[in-house]
Amino acid sequence: MAIKTIGSKKSNKFFKAMLARSREQKNPLNVTFEITRRCNFYCPYCYRVGGFRPRQELNIKEITAILRQMADAGVLCVAFTGGEPFAREDIFDILECANRCGFKFNLMTNGYFIDENAADRLKDVNINKVDISFNFLSPAAFDKFSGVKGSFVKVKNAIEILSKKNIPVALKATGMTLNKNELVALSRYARNLRVPFYLDAEVSVCHSGCGDFSRKHSLDNAEVSFLMKAVYPEMFRPGAAVMRIKSRARSGRMFSCAAGRDMFSVNPYGEMNFCVQIDYPRYNILAEGGIKSCWERIKNEINRLNTTKDYICVNCDIIKYCTHCCPGRAFAETGSFNSCSEYLRNMALERKREKEIPRDQ
């Protein structure tokens, strides 16, 4: 057949093959585009609460220029995130431009602003998927966490509107001490709606602080283990495929993720970074040669870091208990990639005490 139709059943195989080719050719395929740091919520784990200082964000002309350069560089998949993307009045202009550039794009949002009209507009711009942050099933707890009264009702409505209109939606929750008793119920709510549910068991330390919240409210290893088994029981049945996670020491690379291989991120100031969790190295796309030039520099910087001498993980005495392969956490905590994250070290020590060797060993 001269033309192959790629629908949902074939798409995994297709994208996997495309990803492999992109990596071989060292071209970017996936981008996370943080289009704003403004938001209407005040979630305590976010940089907005952790001492964030607003700067002049990209305007629509600049965003359009960057999107076109991304298309020219071979990017296919874009995840638009924030802050809250709907905090931008020109959000639909941005998504329309993304559609016309030929991207497959998702939107990560708190869902507050999605009503019937917004959902119809999302369908018109051919959105691939909407990811909604949904941390609590109890309305009072949800509203308290977001800092916005009535937010639970609005977000729950958004989820149901999107589902009703056949717009693919997924729910994402961060596991914390504040919601650990609701996560299983949340996952069941998602299953009943037949939407994917993603549980991030780590409260991240974002680039402008909020380390205190992470220290106070992160789950311990036993809680994470319990929740993963309760939320994803199919992954722990006998014979289930084990997700292999390469530890940094065994892979021999500081960065064994997609950063600099097929992925980069862009912040609201037009700066290219390794990923959205790490505000580094901040190459100014429009002022420093464009997407292709900045991408070459990102690859060189990752290669430079990957040849770091005295790489701290290599001689670590508890490396076999550590699952994490992202040096971004250490960077967010200490400002250095070649350092040990206090949080990850504590989790590894807990596993050592419980003699729990991670499933990838």
Binding site: A2, I3, I6, M18, L76, G102, F103
Partner: protein
């Protein structure tokens, strides 16, 4: 095949060249619950490039015959099938 027929690309279908592959992405929803994308093989990609609102099907056939050193009849048949497929996915008019 009508040799004199001229087709043009639908402006609502975006052509992307990614990792050596030519794919077509309609900017509209292609089905109720998701949007398909279309991947073209080498010959189809070459033909797609020649569909520009100016080249007749006969001209396209001749250029492909030259480029691929294949029989005119074989190319004409493949081109016919491709045109039908492209019409089906509303990529051309």
């Amino acid at each position: 095949m009508d040799e004199n027929k001229i087709f043009k690309k639908n402006q609502d279908v975006v052509t992307r060249k990614i990792a050596g592959e030519v794919i077509l992405l309609p900017i509209y929803r292609t089905s109720k619950d998701m949007s398909y994308i279309y991947s073209l093989n080498k010959t189809a990609a070459a033909a797609w490039e020649l569909i520009d609102g100016k080249n007749t099907l006969g001209k396209i056939r001749d250029k492909l015959t030259q480029a691929y050193d294949a029989g005119k009849g074989k190319i004409a048949k493949q081109l016919d099938e491709l045109i039908n497929d492209l019409k089906l996915i509303k990529a051309i008019s």
